[in-house]
């Protein structure tokens, strides 16, 4: 059971799209893991960049923070273990997100 909740789930304007965003996260985790396993760094960077931009907007500043850290490592061409650690941390965070209930 996850523990990360959106800061905006009580905002009626946001609830529906937060639900959508949160429920699509497992698919993003699968993509992240697949790109990581295949060593597809460009694709990994694109995903990290998108999560950085969207996470905070949907009320998940942790996602933005961890995705930014992964993006930075990839941009700087950091060593593979660093990239791997950061990708794993991001995936763990995404898995922890709670899909809010519809109202």
């Amino acid at each position: 059971m996850g523990s990360i909740r959106s800061a905006y789930e009580s905002d009626p304007d946001m609830l529906e799209i937060v639900r959508e965003f949160a429920s699509e996260l497992p698919a993003r985790v699968a993509k992240l893991e697949a790109h990581l396993a295949a060593g597809e760094m460009r694709e990994l960077q694109t995903l990290a960049h998108q999560l950085k931009g969207a996470g905070g907007g949907y009320g998940f500043p942790q996602i933005t923070e961890l995705a930014a850290s992964l993006e930075a490592a990839l941009k700087q061409g950091a060593a593979a273990p660093v990239v791997k650690d950061r990708a794993i941390a991001l995936c763990a965070c995404l898995r922890d997100v709670v899909v809010p209930e519809a109202r």
């Binding site: 965003f21 699509e24 694109t46 998108q50 931009g53 969207a54 996470g55 905070g56 907007g57 949907y58």
Partner: protein, 322 residues
Amino acid sequence: MNPEVPNPNRVLVIDDSESIHKLVIARLRPEGLEVFGEVDGERGIERAVADQPDLVLLDIGLPNVDGFEVCRRLKEHPATRGIPVIFLTGTADTESKVRGLDLGAVDYVTKPFDQVELRARVRAALRAKRLQDILEQQSHLDGLTGLWNRRYLDQRLESELNVARRYGRPLSLVLVDVDHFKRVNDDHGHLFGDIVLQGMAEGLRAYARRSDIVARYGGEEFAILLTDTNLRSAMYVSERLRASAENRHFEARTEIVSVTASFGVACTEDLAAELTPEALLKAADLALYASKDSGRNCVHLFRSGELILSTGNPHALGSEGG
């Protein structure tokens, strides 16, 4: 167009992430805007050209064509040059901000964005766009009469001639000159002269068709561009305008003054010369002078080098070469 119920401003979001489209739509909802999106730079440009949004929110990291290139092309294209662009991007380095603004963007907001700030920046950009639109329109209007001005007519003449040439559609031009205007001014003063010009303008606008482009072309001269209109139809319109001018009366201090106008009509289909703005203007001008020479308050048509007095009778033009 009803100024009291303005159409909602329309915002185009170009971002490769659908999550961002949905987020922007939700966050701009309080502004009452119409927001629509494209996920690809190339299609974003096409959409901007076709749908003419009031604002573009533009991501940088796009597949194929990146946001900088999209901005450059939007600012280059005449149809989208005036649309403000705000970069909305996860790329936060100074170099990118400077590059984006130097390419002509009005603002640069980083993702994740603060919703209150984004709304304020969007409002600011739309405010500036509204003023720019007003200025643009005013630069095309004649101050005294509220008709289009000569600059606008010249621009439209050029572009409508291109359309006429490309699609083989007829385009007519009518030149109108107020008769004895100098005498009106001398007898009743310049203020009265202005009232006459305003009345004439009102009549032309009221009796022209919706699609006709009515302009003040010079001091007491007006020009009307009639798209998709042949010589015969342009003659009908001109006769109607001439009659309406004749029936309009102006109250001077001590008397009622009636003022007439002379008309010259030319059409691309009946032009012997090449289809240029100058040739069409010259033909209409020759016809106008024929009207002046034959006693004023009448309509002359230019047809293949001949100047024909319109009798207001459609059959006069009926048989070819008549």
